[in-house]
């Protein structure tokens, strides 16, 4: 029999649900945010449902931080799993007020480790408490659903595309709340999504899925620059890195951030030293030079070593670069033309200079970067219009439109 490892989320499900074959195995730390990413219909939701115990695949293993929820001999029913589950449609109970929805899963003896007032403040629910779910917007409903899940005092929060049914404005409103959760609560989180732009903002680990199978799992930035995976060769290739604030240049309004192998200067409002800041460095914002540029406007120029060269169509190449002399620092990517690659005589293992034209600070105040979607291009507008339509129709329409697909 398989034993569970403390400190890890261990998942293995194989079998088929409604004739959809699922063969999923991964293990991620029971800390921070693990994102499951894949195109719609790849079985992400099925995995979430298996973790929650809503689907029962006999050949399954599920252990959270040493606590076995399912193995060959045990299958804990959903109500005995300390899980917080937020689905695409908020599924608020229409017969209960927001306050009673929030308290539905809360254990009766107080006080709770995740306190009511704390959740209300974190998700800004105070103005909604006495309202009925039918009088909430889509984003508000999702916030209530998150609060309700948190107040059930879970040991694992599973969010199954909580933003997928929202139109882009509601998404922007709610993203800051989603980002705040892992930061404010010491609660492992599994976030399921098909939009890399969301995942890049707060995920620590990434599990890639395709056609019911896990194709890769590991730290987000490692998978983003893995030459064997499609993320690095996509046109929107980017790296998410966590830097530490080390100072602020008040004269020029430049934030000083420390990263392994680099000291970055980014125009931004001041932040307290020591604060962790998520950065996004897109491959198209990085260029390379054979020699250190003497006079240029680009602030962030660092020695780096080429780790991999990946063809991107016929005209372009994505380089994986390790920052620092000798390439001992963090990895980023650069997208250059094949013409420059050849004319500079670049090759694998070569020492170059990386020039970072633009670095995005991913924070609540900034709208999410351009969407990278794993879906087919037509899927997005469809969802957006369905969500907009639901706003008009109210609850009755929502129920009908937002019924999530089983898989």
């Amino acid at each position: 029999m398989r034993t569970a490892t403390p400190g890890r989320i261990e998942i293995a499900f194989s079998g088929s649900i409604a004739s959809f074959p699922l063969d999923t195995q991964f293990s991620v730390p029971a800390k921070g945010v693990a994102a499951i990413f894949g195109p719609p219909g790849c079985g992400k939701t099925a995995v979430a449902r298996c973790i929650a115990g809503l689907e029962h695949l006999p050949a399954g293993f599920c252990a959270i931080d040493g606590d076995v929820w399912q193995d060959e001999t045990t299958f804990r029913p959903p109500h005995l799993r300390p899980i917080g589950y937020v689905s695409q449609d908020a599924s608020l109970f229409p017969h209960l007020s927001v306050r009673r929805n929030l308290l539905y899963g809360a254990p009766k003896p107080k006080p709770m480790p995740i306190a009511f007032d704390e959740v209300v403040e974190l998700l800004d629910l105070a103005p909604l408490l006495d309202r009925s779910p039918s009088h909430l917007s889509g984003g508000e409903r999702q916030r209530v659903a998150m609060g309700r899940a948190l107040l059930s005092q879970p040991r694992l929060l599973v969010m199954d595309e909580p933003l997928a049914a929202l139109h882009s404005r509601a998404k922007r409103e709610i993203l800051p709340f989603v980002e705040r959760l892992p930061e404010k609560l010491a609660l492992p989180m599994i976030y399921i999504g098909h939009d890399m732009a969301e995942i890049e903002r707060f995920a620590d680990y990434l599990v890639l899925m395709e056609r019911g199978m896990v194709t890769a799992a590991g730290p987000l930035h490692v998978l983003q620059s893995d030459p064997t995976l499609p993320l690095a060769t996509s046109h929107e290739a980017a790296i998410s890195l966590d830097a530490v604030v080390s100072g602020y240049d008040g004269r020029y309004g430049l934030l000083i951030l420390r990263l392994k192998g680099a000291r970055l200067l980014v125009p931004a409002p001041p932040l307290a030293p020591g604060v962790h800041q998520r950065l996004r460095i897109a491959a198209c914002d990085v260029s390379v030079a054979r020699e250190a540029p003497r006079a240029g406007s680009i602030l962030n120029v660092f020695p780096a070593r080429i780790r991999a060269c990946l063809s991107l169509g016929t005209a372009e190449i994505t380089l994986v670069l390790a920052l620092g002399t000798g390439g001992s620092g963090a990895e980023i990517m650069a997208r250059i033309t094949r013409f420059s690659f050849d004319s500079l005589g670049l090759k694998d293992g070569m020492d170059v200079f990386a020039q970072l034209k633009h670095i995005s600070l991913l924070s609540a105040s900034e709208p999410p970067p351009q969407t990278i979607s794993a879906s087919t291009p037509t899927a997005e507008p469809g969802q957006a219009s369905a969500a907009a339509c639901n706003e008009k129709l109210g609850t009755r329409g929502e129920r009908h439109h937002l019924k999530p697909p089983l898989l």
Partner: protein, 237 residues
């Protein structure tokens, strides 16, 4: 004819009619309560189970809708009477037959109204779908707790419809009651049977009073429940 419809005086009503009225309301109330208690879990099972038996059971429950009430009454008489299986079983511990008793009436009217009660509740449960119950389960609600806190409140319109239909149907029940009740004044003689007797005896004035009163009563019951539902629904949204 007009003289029979002279509805200005109520002098024709004997105490037996009032007694019968009380009996009818008692029968309808007891039957409705019993039907809700039995019908709700049955409807839940029919709506949620994936068993192949559900359709077979649903068919049997629906039979009283298509059978003449006298057929149902005949079988009940055979079953519950002194020589029927239930009658013999009851005799083992000194029980009496259920035929020609109030309890027999309850059994008869409950069986004939069962499809009318089960169907709306079943539909209501089916409309709720799996989702709210799954969500309740992920919020630590045991299946029983989820049933009482989520399924029942969400199925309230269906339950109300079922109660109205069950009550009204029992008030108007005639064939089954006549077969199994035996039309004993004060014990099993309900209003519809009284009306039949009045007509038989050509007591048209009493008959029209009774019929009119039953119409008014039916209107009042249905209207009251509809208003209650409307009010409570408005308050909850």
């Amino acid at each position: 004819m007009l003289e029979y419809l002279n509805l200005t005086r109520m002098d024709g009503f004997s105490p037996e009619v009032w007694q019968s009225l009380g009996l009818t309301i008692e029968l309808a109330s007891v039957t409705t309560v019993i039907l809700l208690i039995i019908g709700t879990p049955l409807a839940w099972w029919l709506a949620r189970s994936k068993s192949l038996w559900t359709e077979a059971v649903a068919t049997i429950i629906a039979l009283p809708l298509v059978l003449p009430p006298t057929v149902l009454g005949f079988y009940l008489l055979a079953l519950l009477g002194p020589n029927g299986p239930v009658g013999l079983l009851a005799a083992l511990w000194g029980g009496r037959t259920l035929a020609f008793t109030f309890a027999g009436l309850v059994v008869g009217s409950a069986l004939s109204a069962l499809p009318l009660v089960v169907q709306p509740i079943r539909n209501a449960f089916a409309t709720i779908g799996d989702r709210p119950l799954e969500i309740a389960a992920t919020l630590r609600a045991s299946p029983l707790y989820a049933f009482f806190t989520v399924a029942l409140p969400l199925a309230r319109p269906g339950l109300l419809t079922a109660a109205v239909l069950g009550f009204a149907h029992t008030i108007g029940t005639f064939g089954v009651v006549l077969m199994i009740g035996g039309n004993i004044p004060g014990r099993t003689k309900v209003l519809s049977a009284f009306l039949f007797d009045f007509v038989q005896q050509s007591r048209w004035r009493e008959a029209s009073w009774l019929a009119g009163a039953m119409v008014m009563f039916a209107v009042a019951v249905v209207l009251t429940l509809t208003l209650i539902d409307k009010y409570s629904r408005r308050r909850s949204t």
